[in-house]
Amino acid sequence: MKISSSLKRVILTEFILPLTLLIIGIYHGLMQVFYRAGVIHQASVMHLSYYQGLTLHGVINAIVLTTFFAVAFGHVTVTFYLKKEPPKLSYIVSLWLMVIGTLMDAYAMLTGKAQALYTFYAPLKDSPVFYVGTAILIIGSWTAFFGWLKIWFQWRREHPRTRMPLAILGTFVNFIIWVVCTLPAAYSTIVLLTPWSAGWVATVNVPLTRMLFWMFGHALVYFWLLPAYVMYYTILPKVAGSKLFSSNAGRLSFLLFLILSVPVGVHHQFSEPVFTPGTKFFMAILTYGVAVPSFMTAFNIAATLEYAGRKQGSKGWLGWMLHLPYLKSKNFLFGYLICGLILFIFGGLSGIVNASYSLNAVIHNTAWVPGHFHMTVAGPVFLSIIGMSIYLYAKLSGKDIKYKYFATVVPYIWMIGLVFFSHGMMAGGLMGEPRRTNLGMSYTNPESPLFNNHWVPTTTSTLIGGIIMTTAALLYFISFFATVFSKPVREQVLELPVSEDLHHEKPLPILMNMKPWLVVMFILILFAYIPALREVFKYSSSVKAKYDVESPVLIQDSVNVKNAGQVK
């Protein structure tokens, strides 16, 4: 379909801007594997320290890129499936807010005013510019969603008997989760951290900020993942030459994500004080629950792909795996989706280990954890984002994809690199190798008294993986930016591959109405977080603490000095 040039420009900007920043994000990913493997024994390279790089890597790759893409892909799915454009005001304001927020964050990170990593754990202090910038970026993404809601209600009035398209359900589930989970993050950054960082208040309740962060932080991972799920259900069957095995099961898994994504955050905090084992166990159960929609998706998509293989004449139980359209440049999107899925098998299984309550003590905060989440966020999430970005960019700008063979092989190279990378990280993690640590300065530096030779082979595997992944990213950037700088050669259209259903399924009433699911979602959140919140206030207290990453001395600002005076 044709769309207005203002919407088109907004969507194209939402692809180009984060992918340009991604160059910085990937560069710092590569630098980290060099530091960790003990190739670099320094605190910083080119005036950017390891931890500044880690902050940039996390914020750009995991917050900026994912949020921009979710919004751009949301504009695409909503416009395409409802055949209506969102209100111009909503998408323009949304883009501006996201750009301003991103620029504020980038300024704070590049000048070293924010280097407390992307989790911004207090009492390490970031500049208020960072907290406010992040909040503005998030509010920008909400604005886009409010525009979609408006046209959705219009569409429903015009089509009273038509089912909500699966892609719309996925997109809306995703943004409902997003709005709900970003409320605690917004409260934490705006109400608790900004005044504290600006020096208006002296104390902060650290366990409270951590609980609020993880209420947001785990739902965030589903916000990354659900656009990929939308592609698996509505695009992958088509590009694989198949039909979706069951769209009812797809609906059910989206709705299960809706109710279970938020009330699980404490599973990041099994090793912390202030929560009772009861609260922790309850969230472990809910986290196991959220594995079910992923297992269902695995089955559904495998059945879909099996059908594709059998249509090509495959034999036996597993023969269909060999008859899929791998490495076909006409069909390059398939590679991005299938490689992501393969990685996600291992990402999902290792995630169950993390969620397993006492078992978490073996791997908590070790390199295992980034080993795990790179197989999710740098697997299905990242690959579907970059694959879809270049696909839609070419359609929307009417250009040919340049160096298409690069774009075709990228996901396979990336997947091989990620295997080395995650294997190294996870093996090291099982031997206690810490995450988020400049190992090259101490643990992997043979001249340091802290040298630990067990972590040399594991970090070397990580290094090899990181180099292969960066090579794949380079090929991608060549293809993407060569496309961006080329001239349009055909009509500019908004177009998505559309999958059909394999079976004709009766619509189940419970899957057609979101209201009961929303009610369950809020009940579960209350059940999970009211006890957690009470425990935070019962077992912890606010502390007068505010620290710069460079110095173990308490930051003295006007509030501290004034309070000290009163004590005398």
Binding site: L124, P273, K280, F281, S358, N365, G432, L554
Partner: protein, 147 residues
């Protein structure tokens, strides 16, 4: 939904339930559990090792940028240590080598664990939470010796 799909959901549900019971079994029968809560108080900010009897110790560890206090803990083989951990400044980590003791040190909160050392040796304590520019040097140790 087709019958294989329903089966797959049942099987995953059962697998998850088996995992949950395994966790409960470990928590109740083998006492392998997550840390529980101690109300916060300033007394936990004074590092010390108290000998309760021949094989039992109470240990108060304070993490701060960028060392643990005490940073070397000498105890005899076969000791049981009741550990209380907090932080004086920012969030730190506390992961003991070859022991499934993996805790966060959070300012304004007190973490606790019971550790039994049956084998002599040196057990490093690695800070595994980013705590500022000197994070990678933050290492403590237990030295466990036969008496």
């Amino acid at each position: 939904m087709n019958k294989y799909e329903i089966r797959v959901m049942l099987v995953t549900g059962c697998v998850m339930i088996i995992f949950l019971f395994a966790l409960l079994y470990n928590a109740f029968s083998r006492k392998i559990d997550v840390p529980s809560c101690v109300p916060y108080s300033k007394i936990f900010e004074h590092p010390q090792l108290k000998k309760i009897d021949d094989t039992t110790y109470e240990l108060y560890v304070v993490a701060q940028m960028w060392a643990f206090a005490p940073d070397e803990i000498d105890i005899p083989t076969g000791s049981t240590v009741d550990l209380f951990l907090t932080s004086k400044d920012v969030v730190h980590g506390f992961n003991i080598d070859s022991k499934a003791v993996n805790l966060m040190a959070v300012p304004g909160g007190v973490n606790t664990a019971t550790i039994k050392f049956t084998e002599p040796g040196t057990y490093n304590i690695v800070c595994h939470e980013y705590c500022g520019a000197g994070h990678q040097n933050m290492l403590g140790k237990f030295v466990v010796k036969d008496e």
